[in-house]
Symmetry: C2
Subunit: 323 residues, 2 copies
């Protein structure tokens, strides 16, 4: 873990040197507020670890890594307007702290700054091409997610494709970008990309579980938020698959928005049903399958195991399978 | 004008070959609706005319030209949410026809598509670098514009800087991008850029005049919209400069939002005051000064006059000084 900690420190130090607040302040302060919030820096770390793994230089990957983090923050700022989410990482969201117009405009400029950061490397064209592609995919994912709100039937494959676009592709691209900058060949780029997809799918399923089995102190979000908002997550879709007819109809009614029920009562009833149906275990099984897939993709990378160890341990740490 | 018409036709034909509607349709239909609306294609034409002027190839500039148009449309889609504008070019705006979330997300993807288009040329890095810079400036301009709504005093220099950022820089960059792709040297790029700034300033002042002296049939917007919304345009700022104390106080009161008055009565009263103070003439004089500046910048470009003639005529045509 020494390497990971070292990169985390180097990246944190680097971020302190970047000027986020300029004129007009009304535009840039919400950007600094969001990008500089404490966070895991997951996307930069994946980029930097992949870059390091192939012998790349930190200084050549640090701006693209920042660009990936900034691009991620752009999508959070806009998603939080669309989802009317008041909290993110335990902090007020931009649209809530300022207003919708500020969140729209600051979000837009966040995206354009991300574009600029991504290009500050010796392979700017490759980096920005990957970045534009992935940012469009994230937008498509968000659209599918919004469609699901009014779509009466959502299948599990549709849901998996949505989370692939909305979450997994950016992790995959972060890894690929690090590899590209370090000069990895296309086959290894692909293996790392696929590693990132599998990892991203697993993380999202983990989030779906945590929404039902966590709380605001550790998770930064309200427990059961997805249930209150009738979000058709994997927990819900798996429950529909596993439930006998009567339970399924009740669950569909509860998520249709047509039943008048106190939000906490609804959460309690739905989670009791999930418990009875062992939905958590079923989703965790699928999650474990994605973690296995991820591991196999990393195995396939044509480097000695000791070079892959840092990234492997980092992924294990995030998955909660290693402390 | 043959060259201009030819480029307009070629560009229109090219646009027909571009696929805008993909899956998910809810995301891409608003983009196609906006980008494919009839319009002057001012930014693409400036790019293509500049490119042609320096002997550049249409096929090498057509995607960047489309990127500039697409980027412009991105900013319209988002500005219309922020300004709560129901109409644009006589058509319903995206947020009005669909909803705010759709306008946010489709706008985001419009910007990213614009980035991709801009890069489809033999000088992708130069093109996308110019594009990122200008799109950030446009965001800054929009922020200043929004600040002015609640800022009690706006000076004429502050207003001019705002319209430079919000409007002029994209015209200037369109010209520069065409010149860069054709391989023009830096001095000529700069001259064309400055030509675009002056032209953009003049066009915006023209818009400010037209808001008071036009109507929805020819202008696609409601006459007096800026007055109803208390927008501190050059008409208003010039009027404050020219007005005796009593008129100035009345005007400030009318634009403070504190006076209860029927919107049409307010428009009539304000325009009567503008007439009395000869505000239109004063703003048109400033506009003419910008057109003169533009012409001088074009004069300075190191090419024989016959190569500059198409762009010069095109600008004259748009300025209404030539039919």
């Amino acid at each position: 873990m020494e390497k990971t900690k070292q990169l985390q420190c180097e990246f944190a130090d680097f971020m302190k040197t970047v000027e986020f607040v300029k004129e007009p302040k009304g535009l840039y302060e919400p950007i600094a507020y969001t990008v500089l919030q404490k966070g895991k820096r997951l996307r930069p770390m994946l980029c930097l670890l992949a870059n390091d793994m192939f012998g790349g230089d930190f200084d050549d990957a640090k701006y693209p890594a920042l660009g990936l983090e900034t691009g991620h923050n752009f999508s959070l700022i806009h998603d939080d307007i669309m989802d009317q989410a008041p909290l993110r990482r335990g902090m007020e969201t931009v649209y809530k702290k300022w207003n919708t117009n500020t969140a729209i405009l600051s979000g837009d400029v966040t995206l354009m700054m991300a574009n600029q950061f991504v290009m500050r490397t010796t392979k700017p064209l490759e980096a920005v091409t990957l970045f534009n592609k992935v940012m469009i995919e994230i937008g498509e994912g968000q659209q599918y997610d919004m469609n699901f709100e009014t779509q009466s039937v959502v299948t599990i494959p549709e849901y998996l494709e949505m989370i692939r676009l909305k979450t997994a592709v950016l992790l995959a691209t972060s890894l690929q970008m690090g590899a590209v900058i370090a000069g990895a060949d296309e086959e290894d780029q692909k293996n790392l990309y696929d590693f990132g997809i599998a990892l991203g799918m697993a993380f999202q399923l983990q989030d779906d579980v945590l929404d039902c089995y966590s709380d605001v102190a550790v998770f930064g979000k309200v427990t059961g938020g997805d249930i209150v908002e009738n979000k058709k997550t994997m927990m819900y879709l798996k429950a529909l698959e596993l439930a006998p007819v009567a339970d399924r109809e009740r669950l569909e009614a509860l998520f249709s928005g047509e039943v008048t029920i106190n939000p906490q009562k609804k959460i309690d009833e739905v989670i009791a049903m999930y418990d009875k149906l062992h939905v958590k275990e079923a989703v965790e099984q699928l999650m474990a399958e994605y973690f296995r897939q991820a591991s196999a993709c990393l195995d396939a990378v044509k480097l000695p195991e000791e070079r892959k160890a840092h990234l492997r341990h980092y992924a294990d740490l995030l998955s909660g399978r290693e402390k």
